[in-house]
Amino acid sequence: MNLEIERLDNGETKILKVNGEVDVYTAPQLKEALVPLTKQEGAKVIVDLENVTYMDSTGLGVFIGALKSTKEYNSEMRLVSMHDRVRRLFEITGLDSIMNIDTTVRGGK
């Protein structure tokens, strides 16, 4: 029921690896880690959701906030490796059409 966030930067690219459940309790933690990265002018941010086992609209809200911030600061955000269950939320809400979501299937896992 908890959330752990790791920073795994690769050169200029800021990578956030999110592990656990994103809900009303943990979403503020994700927001705190993610939004400041998108406020760096021209930054490239990758959010790795492979280990996110649960997410609801509170998580969607964080990504919407971060997306707005990328427009403001000319930065980029890409969501990668999300589970089908999590992707379904983006599809139901129509957010998949405006978010940069990596649709490649991870091999071997």
């Binding site: 309790y25 609801d56 919407i64 809400t93």
Partner: protein, 158 residues
């Protein structure tokens, strides 16, 4: 009269208890024979209802409680989530829900407001009462015809 089992829980209206209730519904729904996918839907729906309730109670006072009732019927699960916090403007909330459409710009996107929309998308029936606090009543049906009669035997085999 239709017989059913009833389970009631009361938790403090604090965000940290939403995950606890999620675990509970997972157990109840699994006990009833819902599929993995359906259980995931139920977890999201109940969390959305509770997120709304915790946010409300927070605004009013932070020592509120949320009452959750589970009605376990032969063909369906009924879930009630009630907070005694202040009521909100239901029409306003309803006007805000719905999927994102491409015609809006990113700047117009709202960070909240998907909660009720998701509940309606994931459950079979949803009713919201807004008289004394907010009560969300939602139903999900068991699709028994898809369940094989041997499922019981299989599930009890170690």
């Amino acid at each position: 009269m239709e017989s059913f089992d009833f389970i009631e829980m009361k938790v403090p209206a604090k965000p940290e208890y939403v995950g606890v209730v999620r675990l509970s519904i997972s157990g109840i729904a699994s006990r009833m024979g819902f599929s993995y996918e359906e259980i995931e839907d139920l977890k999201i729906a109940i969390s959305e209802a509770m997120s709304n309730a915790t946010t409300h109670a927070y605004d009013e006072k932070d020592d509120g409680e949320i009452t959750i009732g589970f009605g376990l019927y032969a063909n369906r699960l009924e879930i009630m989530v009630a907070d005694r916090g202040g009521s909100f403007d239901l029409e306003e909330v309803k006007a805000e829900i719905g999927p994102y459409e491409n015609k809006h710009s990113v700047e117009e996107l709202r960070e909240g407001g998907f909660g009720l929309f998701l509940i309606e998308a994931l459950m079979d029936k949803v009713e919201i009462k807004n008289d004394y606090g907010v009560i969300v009543l939602m139903t999900k049906y068991l699709h028994e015809n898809e369940v094989d009669i041997n499922d019981d035997q299989i599930s009890t085999t170690p």
